[in-house]
């Protein structure tokens, strides 16, 4: 036990002291913040006013919007305009002929522009169609309605709480992605560590002092500690950064957007309300569990792969079958969120190779305890099995040099 502890300590300290770890730990939350802020910033910034020419023949009267201005030009001018479009002040030319609509431009037309124009034309055509059928468009307009459905979850005692599928989706999505990234990042870190020891040829010296399994577990646990440290630091840093951002950014944006203090408090109250129906403690604890157990399962497999090869370039053929279920669960996040209690969701959150990601996606929507416990139990059993299996491949693999092993070879190692 003492020796495993020594290995864990070394693996942990070596990685935590690395510059790349420190940089990632600081940059991570900043990048996250930037990723969230940038689209909003860009969306607001990139809205320039645009002039659009429309051929006069058309009987469509397009209305100017905030950013799009339409000018009719005579049919004759169209040909000239198309010749030297770049010299004209127009962003695009809308050419309408017999119910066909074409947008010409000397540059890629932005999606939002073409969408806006399309919407306007559709509206006009719709109204015209209604008029032709003898229906007053006003009637349709009056008939339109908008209602809002409040979703509430019935508790066992008959009371109900707000259920918030948007917030659930957000939390499920983020925790699912985080688990995916963590398992991938730290799993491959274990693999690289194993390859490094093998390539450096230090491994034989070390295993003359302790068992190969101890070395493998020490490495896996040491890297897990690195992952947890990073995760915790990210949470702390994110809290600090968002607090600072709130204090500086939000104040000015509130001023410019002229949101009153009253409205602000309403927003905050809503925010608190949104997450109210979700058991955050359960999610956080489950997150740590699924991260650790999923990581232990995958990283032992990654360690086995690392032990089988001489260099990282040779890992491809073995890594693929390991990463397929991981990538599959990543792809399935969206469909699972659409039906978080369906059959697919159920099985994917029980099967251990996909359960860490999928269960985290499902959790905010509410999962029966027995399903959660079953999923956890299966995962624990699997990681015990995979570490045992990986340990057997590892102890033979780390001493094999020279030839690229095949699956047949690995199978043989399992039985030595």
């Amino acid at each position: 036990m003492h020796k495993i502890w020594l290995v864990i300590r070394r693996e942990y300290l070596v990685r935590v002291k690395k510059k790349s770890f420190i940089v990632m730990t600081i940059l991570g939350p900043l990048l996250m913040a930037a990723l969230m802020i940038a689209p909003i910033y860009l969306a607001n910034e990139n809205q320039e006013e645009r002039l659009i020419a429309v051929n006069q023949q058309s009987d469509f009267l397009l209305e100017d919007t905030e950013l799009l201005h339409f000018t009719s030009i005579p049919e004759l001018e169209v040909i000239n305009l198309r010749k030297d479009f770049s010299l004209s002040p127009y962003y695009a030319l809308l050419y309408i002929e017999k119910g066909k609509f074409t947008l010409y431009s000397n540059q890629q037309i932005s999606l939002s522009v073409s969408r806006d124009i399309q919407r306007q034309i559709e509206q006009i055509v719709e109204i015209n169609n209604l008029k032709e059928a003898g229906i007053d468009p006003q009637i349709i307009e009056n008939a339109k309605t908008e209602i809002e459905i409040t979703t509430r979850l019935i508790e066992k005692d008959g009371s109900s709480t707000n259920s918030h599928s948007e917030a659930s989706m957000g939390i499920g999505f983020i925790s699912g992605i985080l688990i995916y990234i963590f398992i991938f990042m730290y799993g491959t870190m274990v693999m690289r560590g194993v390859i490094e020891e093998k390539a450096n040829r230090i491994v034989e010296i070390i295993i003359s002092s302790l068992k190969p399994f101890q070395l493998m577990m020490g490495k896996i646990l040491g890297v897990a500690a690195v992952g947890l440290t990073q995760f915790i630091l990210w949470i702390i840093l994110t809290i600090i950064i968002s607090t600072i951002a709130e204090l500086t950014f939000l104040d000015t944006s509130i001023m410019t957007n002229e949101i009153s203090a009253n409205e602000q408090s309403v927003i905050l109250a809503q925010l608190a309300n949104i997450t109210g129906g979700i058991n955050l403690t359960q999610i956080l604890l489950s997150f740590i569990f699924y991260f650790l157990a999923g990581y232990l399962m995958y990283s032992s497999l990654f360690a086995a792969v690392g032990s089988a090869v001489d260099a990282e370039a040779d890992t491809q053929q073995f890594i693929l079958p390991i990463t397929i279920p991981l990538i599959l669960s990543f792809i399935l996040i969206q469909p699972i969120m659409d039906s978080p209690n369906g059959t697919l969701a159920f099985w994917m959150s029980i099967i251990p190779f996909t359960s860490p990601v999928i269960m985290m996606v499902r959790l905010p929507f509410g999962v029966p305890s027995w399903e959660l416990l079953l999923s956890m139990g299966v995962l624990v059993c699997t990681f015990i099995a995979t570490t045992w299996l990986a340990g057997r491949i590892y102890r033979t693999g780390i001493l094999m040099y020279g030839k690229k092993p095949s699956y047949k070879e690995l199978w043989k190692w399992l039985r030595y």
């Binding site: 020594l6 290995v7 070596v14 230090i202 034989e204 010296i205 295993i207 003359s208």
Partner: protein
């Protein structure tokens, strides 16, 4: 106290269909410098890994210091494998401390001993350098120190001098002989015969997964000496008799092979009465010749 520090008995190790060791027996006397010889692929490395409990034998037993070889003996054995290396990005001192602690030493004990050895080998100023900053020979010195740092009863060196320049190799040889004098038992694995004759007192020859020779250097040499003699005579040259065949004959220097049943003394008496003898010497084969011969015969 038993005379043999390590006894390997009937050890078999099989990888799939391939028998890496097939009924290997060796006894390493306490305090000896024991040469483990054999061509590449003979099974030396597998045997050393088994002694170090890196792999377990399929059958057979190992007795270490009078007990069945077991886990806690790891701290009594120091092993320098042929394929050796260190963490390139780790500092020398940190790394040496880590490896020493893995051998069961406490931090303070390891620090004290490491400082002593680093001073002795004049490498103390490398303590805070990373391995990647050092030359290969320098790294080998550190390797040597971490192998012996825990004062093991048994030291196992696999091709210890490969990669050392002659000066450092000489220093290492001196230190190894010193350790031997202090009572450590040393196993050398090598296929370089000249170093065997210089250092070892016992050898075992392994070929094709089997021990084909074992014993003291003298006993093996006499076992392989095949009645060859070198004779120098004055004025006249030897002629064939029924006592011996002449292999070569040149200006008084002759090599002769005694016929079966003829003793050296009989031949000498005969030559002495018929010629004027300057020297009469039994030719002992070099280890290299024995090695080649034994491998061929096996």
């Amino acid at each position: 106290m038993q005379e043999d520090l390590l006894i390997v008995r009937n050890v078999i190790k099989q990888y799939g269909d391939y028998k890496a060791l097939n009924n290997v027996n060796i006894s390493v006397p306490r305090g000896s410098i024991y040469g483990l010889l054999g061509p590449n692929g003979a099974g030396k490395t597998t045997l050393m890994r088994i002694i170090n409990q890196i792999t377990a034998p399929d059958s057979g037993e190992l007795i270490f210091d009078g007990e069945k070889l077991q886990k806690n003996h790891i701290t009594d054995i120091g092993y320098m494998p042929e394929e050796r290396g260190l963490y390139k990005k780790m500092k020398v001192g940190e790394q040496a401390l880590y490896l020493a602690q893995l051998k069961g030493m406490s931090y303070n004990e390891a620090l004290k001993k490491l400082k002593y050895w680093f001073e002795k080998l004049n490498i103390i100023n490398w303590w805070n350098k990373k391995i990647e900053e050092l030359s290969k020979g320098m790294a080998q010195k550190i390797q040597f120190v971490v192998t012996i740092i825990h004062d093991p009863k048994l030291l196992i060196f696999d091709e210890p001098f490969s990669g050392f320049d002659p000066i450092n190799a000489a220093i290492m040889r001196k230190e190894i002989l010193n350790l031997s004098k202090k009572g450590a038992t040393i196993i050398f694995s090598t296929h370089r015969m000249e170093s065997v004759e210089e250092i070892c007192d016992h050898i075992a020859l392994i070929n094709k997964s089997k021990t084909i020779l074992e014993g003291t250097i003298e006993s093996i040499k006499s076992q392989f000496s095949n009645n060859n003699y070198e004779v120098i005579t004055k004025n006249s040259e030897l002629e064939n008799t029924d006592l011996y065949d002449i292999i070569s004959n040149k200006e008084g220097l002759s090599h002769i092979l005694l016929k079966k049943g003829v003793r050296g003394k009989d031949a000498l008496d005969y030559i002495n009465t018929n010629y004027e003898v300057i020297s009469f010497k039994k030719e002992t084969p070099t280890m290299e010749e024995i090695f080649i011969k034994a491998v061929k015969n096996a």
